[in-house]
Amino acid sequence: MSVPLEAYLALSALLFVLGTTGVLVRRNALVVFMSIELMLNAVNLTFVAFARQRLAIEGQLAVFFVVVVAAVEVVVGLAILIAIFRTRDTVDIDDVDLLRG
């Protein structure tokens, strides 16, 4: 017996929900970023799983591009984080609420 596609998808769903929970609950901006990485990886897993199921290499290529964009996102995001920390001396995203209506 081999591992069914749905097992991968279920694992992906669980990881994704863990990520959303992290984004919604945690206030530490660094942890929020990590949770976002978690969600990206969950999606990557579904890409790879479907690529295997359908024997389509494009799924893996999508993962490649996701990784590239994720790397850029982390670099820029962390730079913003440091800039915020430098000016406001905090990494609590609840303290960054200048857009309050």
């Binding site: 995203i93 609420d97 857009l99 209506g101």
Partner: protein, 620 residues
């Protein structure tokens, strides 16, 4: 080629004087203004000599203007016998008045602007009379209206001049709306706007539609040619410079309606009752305006009402299917009315702008030549033989009489005859009040300079001898010239015309005119203010027509405007706009709490939205 040149010459004058005139010396500006029109006149003579004009007509197509399926309109010029006559009148009289303007406007600071406008007017008028189809004619029609507006309001710093310009423009719009509708109706029913094809198609068109279309066109003519009920702008148009009144509001532009009917006469002939309406409107207008001129004190306004009255004669001629006579009267009227206006302008020039005849008088002495010119014009206007006006007016009345014998209303002829009497009276009155008696106003009147006198002299000669163009003794050259143009519509009035059934028909207008002159002489010999009692009040209020318009149209329109401005605009539209703004503002205040500024709230909202979409997709 020559047709384009005719129109392009004054247009070039307009461009040069309009763009650079302010920097040119006055002599150059005047030379350009007069030179271009004079050259256009020469070109018109050349073109009129072309054998093609006497034949099918000289055409010049510039380009295809509109093309929509079967319907095409080309921008083109066209000259046949009728257009040739009009072009000669426009450029000839126009040239004389341009020359006169050099003297009259010599001291005006806006000299170049004046000549630019005047040249633009001549170009527009030439476009009108040389237009190859109804749409080009309409363009010229609107352009002359624009020039009229610009020149009435030439001294726009005078409140009355500015408002008179607006009045002329707005009243003309009313007629022009009808005119445009008529053109559109013809375009849709006949599928063409070319004059010759319209004439050919007119026989096959539904009579009802044709009547409607021609009546709409005539509505435009009543506006442009100042007939009842749209005459009201022309008396006020006298606020403009006097040469303008002579050129635009007497000799040329206001005759556009007459020209238009002559141009489209096959349509009008086929269109049931339209010509009867034209005749009635012309007769009533002629009589009405003449009676008002009887009590008017402003010399120029007397001449304005006289113009309205004479235009009424022309429409009367059109209506009684005596069209060549109408065109003949148009020509002679251009001569003698321009002369009268120029003489009046000469008086104003000498008296520093005074036009109120109560303050004029005794000018025959110091202004001998002007007085002589005015007298020649006045005699022509009164219809005294052998002056030009006699022949044309007589021919019109003859046509009216014959029309009545063919089944038309005798009242039209009677109105024409009565108008002839009243005309003689008011001309004599104006003459007596202005030139006879003691000087009413101290001042040092002086004779006009030669540059003004010469055009008057030429016009006086034309007013005296112009009648030969249509005199029976001279072989009626003008009428014979126009006959081929009108004959294909089977009027046949001119051909085999018997001598008037009774000599009295010819003699009567002359007798009536002479009686009018005698009556005027008797009434105003000692410059009494003849008030005519209640009738005078009625007349000096222009039969209360303007009062009626004020009460029925202007005042309600103003009230409606105030209602719209003060109530609908402020409370309705502004209220709606402000209400929308306030609503959005309050809604924003109500929901601004949602915008917490906390990223985590936003993320939760995104997730909730995702859940909703996924749920919908799963359970739909």
């Amino acid at each position: 080629m020559v047709l384009e040149v005719i129109v392009a010459l004054p247009l070039a004058g307009w461009l040069i004087n309009g763009l650079a005139g302010g920097r040119l010396p006055r002599g150059v500006v005047g030379a350009i203004g007069c030179g271009t029109v004079g050259a256009a006149c020469a070109a018109s003579v050349m073109a009129a000599g072309d054998p093609a004009v006497a034949g099918g007509g000289l055409t010049a197509t510039l380009f295809t203007w509109l093309s929509a399926g079967e319907f095409t309109v080309s921008a083109g010029l066209f000259m046949d016998r009728l257009s040739a006559l009009m072009a000669l009148v426009v450029t000839g009289v126009g040239f004389l008045i341009h020359v006169y303007s050099i003297g009259y406007m010599a001291d005006d600071p806006a000299y170049a602007r004046y000549f630019a406008y005047l040249n633009l007017f001549v170009a527009s008028m030439l476009l009108l009379v040389l237009g190859g189809n109804l749409l080009v004619l309409f363009v010229g029609w609107e352009l002359v209206g624009l020039c009229s507006y610009l020149l009435i309001g030439f001294w726009f710093d005078r409140e009355r001049a500015a408002s008179s310009g607006r009045k002329a423009f707005i009243v003309n719009r009313i007629g022009d709306a009808g005119f445009l509708l008529g053109i559109l109706l013809l375009a849709t029913t006949a599928g063409n706007l070319q004059f010759d094809r319209l004439a050919a198609a007119s026989g096959g068109m539904a009579p009802g539609l044709l009547t409607a279309a021609t009546l709409l066109l005539f509505a435009g003519a009543t506006g442009k040619s100042a007939q009842l009920p749209l005459y009201v702008w022309l008396p006020d148009a006298m606020e403009g410079p006097t040469p303008v009144s002579a050129l635009i509001h007497a000799a040329t532009m206001v005759t556009a309606g007459v020209y238009m009917i002559a141009r489209l006469h096959p349509l009008f002939l086929h269109a049931g009752y339209t010509l009867s309406v034209v005749a009635a409107v012309g007769a009533v207008t002629a009589f009405f305006a003449a009676t008002v001129a009887l009590v008017e004190w402003d010399l120029k306004r007397v001449l304005a009402y006289s113009t309205i009255s004479q235009l009424g004669y022309m429409f009367l001629a059109m209506g009684v299917v005596m069209m060549p006579a109408g065109m003949f009267h148009l020509t002679t009227h251009a001569f003698f009315k321009a002369l009268l206006f120029l003489a009046a302008g000469s008086v104003m020039h000498a008296m520093r702008g005074v036009v109120d005849m109560r303050r004029l008088g005794g000018l025959a002495g110091p202004m001998r030549w002007t007085a002589a010119g005015f007298a020649v014009g006045g005699l022509a206007l009164a219809g005294v033989p052998p002056f030009a006006g006699f022949f044309s007016k007589d021919l019109i009345l003859e046509g009216a009489f014959e029309w009545a014998q063919r089944g038309g209303a005798m009242l039209v002829w009677i109105a024409g005859l009565a108008t002839a009497f009243v005309t003689a009276v008011y001309v004599t009155r104006a003459m007596m009040l202005t030139f006879a008696g003691p000087a009413a106003d101290p001042g040092h009147p002086h004779e006009a300079p030669a540059v003004m006198g010469l055009p008057m002299a030429v016009l006086a000669a034309l007013s005296f001898g112009g009648g030969l163009l249509g005199a029976r003794v001279a072989g009626e050259p003008l009428l014979r010239y126009l006959e081929p143009f009108f004959v294909d519509s089977a009027i046949g009035v001119l051909k085999d015309r018997p001598m008037p059934a009774a000599g009295v028909i010819t003699a009567l207008p002359v007798a009536v005119s002479l009686a009018g002159i005698l009556a005027g002489f008797a009434l105003y010999r000692d410059r009494r203010e003849v008030t005519l009692g209640a009738l005078g009040r009625f007349l000096s209020h222009q039969w209360y027509i303007e009062t009626l318009y004020d009460a029925v149209i202007v005042t309600p329109a103003k009230r409606l405007a105030h209602l719209l401005a003060d109530v609908v605009e402020t409370r309705g539209i502004d209220g709606a706009v402000n209400g929308v703004g306030a609503l959005v503002g309050r809604a924003g205040l109500a929901v601004r709490g949602l915008q917490t500024g906390f990223v985590r709230n936003y993320a939760a909202a995104i997730l909730a939205g995702t859940i909703l979409m996924l749920g919908y997709w799963l359970f739909r």
